[in-house]
Amino acid sequence: MIEVQNLTKRFDDFPALDGLSLTVPQGSVYGLIGPNGAGKTTVIRHITGIYRPDSGNVRIDGLPVYENTAVKSRMAFIPDEIYVPGSVTVRDMMQFWRGVYPRFDASRFSALRDVFQLSETKPFRRFSKGMQKQAMFWLAICIKPDYLILDEPIDGLDPVMRRQIWSILLDDVAECGTTVLVSSHNLRELEDVCDHVGVMHHGRMLLERSLAELQDNVVKVQLVTENPLPEGLTILHSSMTGRIQTLILRGRQHEVADLLAQCHPMLCDLLPLTLEEVFIYELGGANYDVKNIVL
């Protein structure tokens, strides 16, 4: 489990993180969402032991991360900007990672060769950005990490490769209970693979929920009724087109349906919401310009 408690970090005068807390449960796929400049990469750099916090702590399985080789050897990190050392090949990098990560599995490396289809002898510098990311995934997977931290990783990869990589990663999640932390802008994809999400803004965590909880607790209703609405409804948003009211309500579907039946509607349609809509309505109450936040 990754636990960040009250993390504060300033870069000279700029407060990058301001009392941020997040929790990534064991074996989950956690999506970290937020606009550019929210501090996602900064948090990730704390979790991977690059930065030292000004205050607060970062723990994995209860142990602090900074300078802790036991914890870090079970963690793989793919940053948004890949470090390309001069004139090394994939094979050289494999040898290096083998010497640095004790759990590196060379047989897995060979087994995945056909999946990634990258030349092992071409200098790494001459790969395209997408292929460089692919190579990093290849190496990261071979560490058999307990924790996989991905910073905007999937941008730049073609859809086929994305699917293949996620397929492998989720296989590991299912089998070994690997915990994955992904930071991304692509909500569509996160909806598929995540089971927890955290929304950041200005160095703080706005909202942190499991995906199921989020999606189950917001309901969109199109309603036509001549009677007043029943009591006890938590309305997040409402709009009217002709006689049709569109309401966004908090609550579970069947609870809301039961409540609404009290006003004997002529028309009562319960519609599902996309993740994006869920965010917009959940956060709308907090007065943020949500479209900017989420996208």
């Binding site: 989950s28 796929v29 994305r162 699917r163 996620w166 397929s167 492998i168 989720l170 296989d171 999640v173 299912a174 089998e175 569509r188 909806e191 598929d192 693979v193 995540c194 089971d195 199921a212 999606q215 519609l271 599902p272 919401l273 996309t274």
Partner: protein, 125 residues
Amino acid sequence: MISINYRDSRPIYEQIQHELHRMILSGGLAAGSRLPSVRELAAELAINPNTIQRAYRELEAEGVILSIAGKGSFVAELPKPEKGADAPLARFRASVRELRTLGFSTRELHTFLDDLDKEDALPHD
């Protein structure tokens, strides 16, 4: 085997649940046959295993599948709609005739059944 329609705004676990249910009802998955494991399906679809897990749980709650620890999930035997259905069917016949005398056409009755399906969230045929 299963395809997810990304334009469909229903939650993914619901889509999976309905797809599997449809395949079972239509006979594509025979009674007693083994469903793919959560892990296999998660990898195949590139979907979070918890989502798959949830769909399976819902299907199990409906009685459509059975999970046996250590062995996997299997399609349950569907109850044969034979015994105990005589009285409700007779009542149904009487109700239909009554509605016909009130002026409902067969088509309207079909529409009514479709709406009922929707209400109860069952797949259409």
